[in-house]
Structures are given as structure tokens and as C-alpha cells.
Amino acid sequence: MTRVALYRVLVILAAVLLLELLCAIGVIDRITMQPPHLILRDLGRILISGKQNAAILKTMTNASIAFSLALLVGIATAAVLHGYRALRETLDPLFATYYAIPVFAFYPLLIVLFGLGDAPQIGIGFMLGVVAVIVNTLNGLDRVPRVLRKAALIERLGAAEVALKVALPYAAPYVLTGAKFAVAYTLIGIIGAEFIMSRGGMGYEISFAYNNFDNATMYPLIVLILAVSISINTALSWWEKRLLARRGL
């Protein structure tokens, strides 16, 4: 482990220990929060008992679907937009302001329009994630050197092949950056949607536990979501780093 990595671990450990201490001496009371070791114990109990499995499965399935769609549709949209300058310039302001829109402010509208099923929740996750993929993929495609496109044409590749075999592979590290954002954004979208327009899923269970002062369920679920999101993010970062290292970056 490098020295920096060691410091990082120490900072996290110190924060957890501080929480533990504040809970132990009563600065943070039990109704507000359980000490970290009890949260981990409760998380273990929840996972072993399987009573939240349906909620976890629903959220993770919906998030995977939303993320996959955001990635596929995002890359395809970027590839097409990259070829149509006028269309892209028309949409640029939308992309620039997209994340300034607080989607959940439309919450009553969303319920009226979409109801409480899975599809609208996936839809919201997808909508939050897709633009990050589009914007970052476009950024990568903009950087493809002209000479690589020319070299591909000389190899007699067609337009679609140039996009798939040259432009997108070149842009891959940038696409991954977009994918990292999309993981976080789709999860935010899915969990948020479950809070307000669902009768199941981890977001719903967290909100239900909160309303019933059920800290033994609420905190472990929050920790679980954090763990999943951070793990996927770390895996993508690792992959991104490998791709960049290969290119001497």
C-alpha cells in the first residue's frame, strides 16, 4: 500500500471511530443513529435473514436496467450527434443546463403521469444518467485525431465501422468517465423515485423505516447502497486507469 493510500484508510477509520465515540458517550443518541458497529451487525442480520432481499433485488435490477439503457442509448446518441453538427448545436443548451433541473420537483406530475410501477422509476434513473454518458462520449469523440479517421478510411472502413472500430475505442476512457457518473446518477434517480412513487425497493424501505423509527433497517440499507455504488465506481475507475496507462496517460 502506498503512503497516500494508507493515509486515506486512516482518515476513514478515524471518522468511523469518531462516530463510534460520539454514539458511545451519548452526544448522538440512539434514536438519531446507531453506532457504526451495530449498523454493520444489523446489515449482516438483514442480509442473512433475507427479509430485504426482494427490495434489494428490485432496486439493483431496476438500477442495472436504467444504467445499461443510459450507457447504450447515451453512446449511440453521442455517436449520431457527433455526425450532425446542427442537431448537436441545437441540443447543446439542453445538455449544459440538464443537471440544473431538479427532476424531483416534478414529483406530483411524475406520479400523475407514470403511476407507481417499475417502468417510471427506471425511466427517471435512465433520464438522470443518460446525459452524462452523452456529454462525456461527445467529449471523447471530439478528441479523435483526424489522422486516425483518415487512416481508417484508407483501410476501407465504412462510416459505421469507423465509429465502432476507431472513434469509440479511442473515446473509451471518456465514455468510462460518463459511465461512472451514470452509475451514481441512475442510483440517485432510482432510489429517489422509490422514495416518492413506489411501494417497494430499497428507497421505499429506507423511507418506511425512517417513518417508523426503525434505525436497525434504515442505516444498514443506506450503507449497503453506498457500498454498491462505491464498488462499481471503483471498478470502473480501475478499468479507466488501465486504459489510460496503456496509452501512456
Binding site: 485525431p145 489522422v147 483518415k150 487512416a151 478510411l153 476501407r156 475505442p169 496503456r246 496509452r247
Partner: protein
Amino acid sequence: MSQASAHVSLRGVTKTFPSAAGGELHALGPVDLDLRRGEFLAVVGPSGCGKSTLLELIAGLSPPTAGTIEFEGRRIAGDIPDGIGVVFQEDACFPWLSVEANVAFGLRKSAIEPAAKTKRVREVIELMGLTDFAKSYPAQLSGGMRQRVCIARTLVKEPRLILLDEPFGALDQQTRLLMGDEVLKLWRQTGATVFLITHALDEAAMLADRIAVMSARPGRLIDAVETNWPRERDSRIVERPEFGVITARLWKSLREESLKTIGRAK
């Protein structure tokens, strides 16, 4: 030489681009030029004279505005003909592919068997002295070696016409001389016709059988110099007195044109 017997033949080739002001920018031509089969032809000219445009037209990367280009008797008009390879000045290695995969990319569209492909890729990598780096990525190689990867990717297709667009422009002088030697060797071994664009008069004088001199924009051919070098030659011909005579002649033709491009013409 009649148009039919030439390997590559250009007649009245002209290129104009839409200019920023809304008018037209006359970049090139009209150019008439024939390349003999197996000939090494260099084109020199002041910067911005349309040399690279000329190469792109022959490569089929863009169609001429007027005139015709024929390669092996077939007309080229903005489509990439089979049998042509191009090496560019800029680094055109695909950075996400290993040296091996970069070279194999040249055989993407070829119909030969996978086993034969692998063999040919290995042979060309060896020919270019890259065997120890077959599994490396371009970022791990020097500029000269990356350019060798690009040459290998071109050679693996066994092109009958090789277009070189200032391929050594980004390299240092010593490496350029040595790469010149390698190109001469490959030219002899493959028997391909070579069309070299360069701004370096010594490079043109050292490598080519014939040197075409272009005017300032719009680029037209204003001189052609036969070097009469033997086919067996290498960079040591720069020691010969004829080398000095050829470079002097090229500079004489070019000096006035080069002055025009920096706005100092009489």
C-alpha cells in the same frame, strides 16, 4: 508516356475549397502528372501549396473538383481504391491496440486465411525490426518506432502504390536519414510505386527517382528533376557531388515560390 501505360495518371486535376468568406479557395491545380510503375516520385513545394491535398486526392480521401485521376487504369473519384497504402506525418497508430494488432488492422478487409494473416503480420513486424515490441502499445514506443508501426500496417497489405505524406516530418534528422534507408530498401523489395510528399529538399533528392516541384498556392507543377540514381542506393549518396547539384536545382526552382508564401515576393 501515354495515360494508359502509367501506373497513376493525373489530368487537369484541380481542387477548390469553400472559403471562410463564402467564396472559393483555389488550393490546387490544374495538375498533370504520370507515375511509372515502380517509380519513386517525390513532390516538393512551399508550405500550404496543396501537396497534402494532392496526396489525399490520389488516395481517394476526397474527390477532385475538376480533372481525372486514374490508378491502374481505373478512375479514382473520392472512393478508396484497393492496392493503395498511406503513411501520414502525424502519428496514426491506434493507441488502444498493441503493435501486433495495429499491423493486423491493415488486413481487416483482406480475404486471406487467419493463419496466413498471422504469418504475414509476423513477417512484416520482423521486417520493420519490431519483433521485440509486438505486444507493446504505441505509447511505449519512440516516435520513430511508432512511424515504423504505421509503415508496417501499410506494408502488410502489400500495396502496389504507397503514398507517404511527410512521414518523417516529426522525426529528428539522424532518424530521418535512417528511415530513408529503410524506405529505399522496402521500395526495392516490394516493387511498389512510391509517391512521397515532403518539404525537405535533401530528403527528396536522396530518395526519389524523380522530383516534381510545386508552385505556391494554387499548387501547380513547375519543374521535374530526374535524379538518375541507381536503384541500389542508400543515404550515403548525400556525399556525391550530384546530390548537391540536384538540391541546388530544386532550391532554385523553389526559392521564388517559397518567398511568395511568406509574402516577400518581388
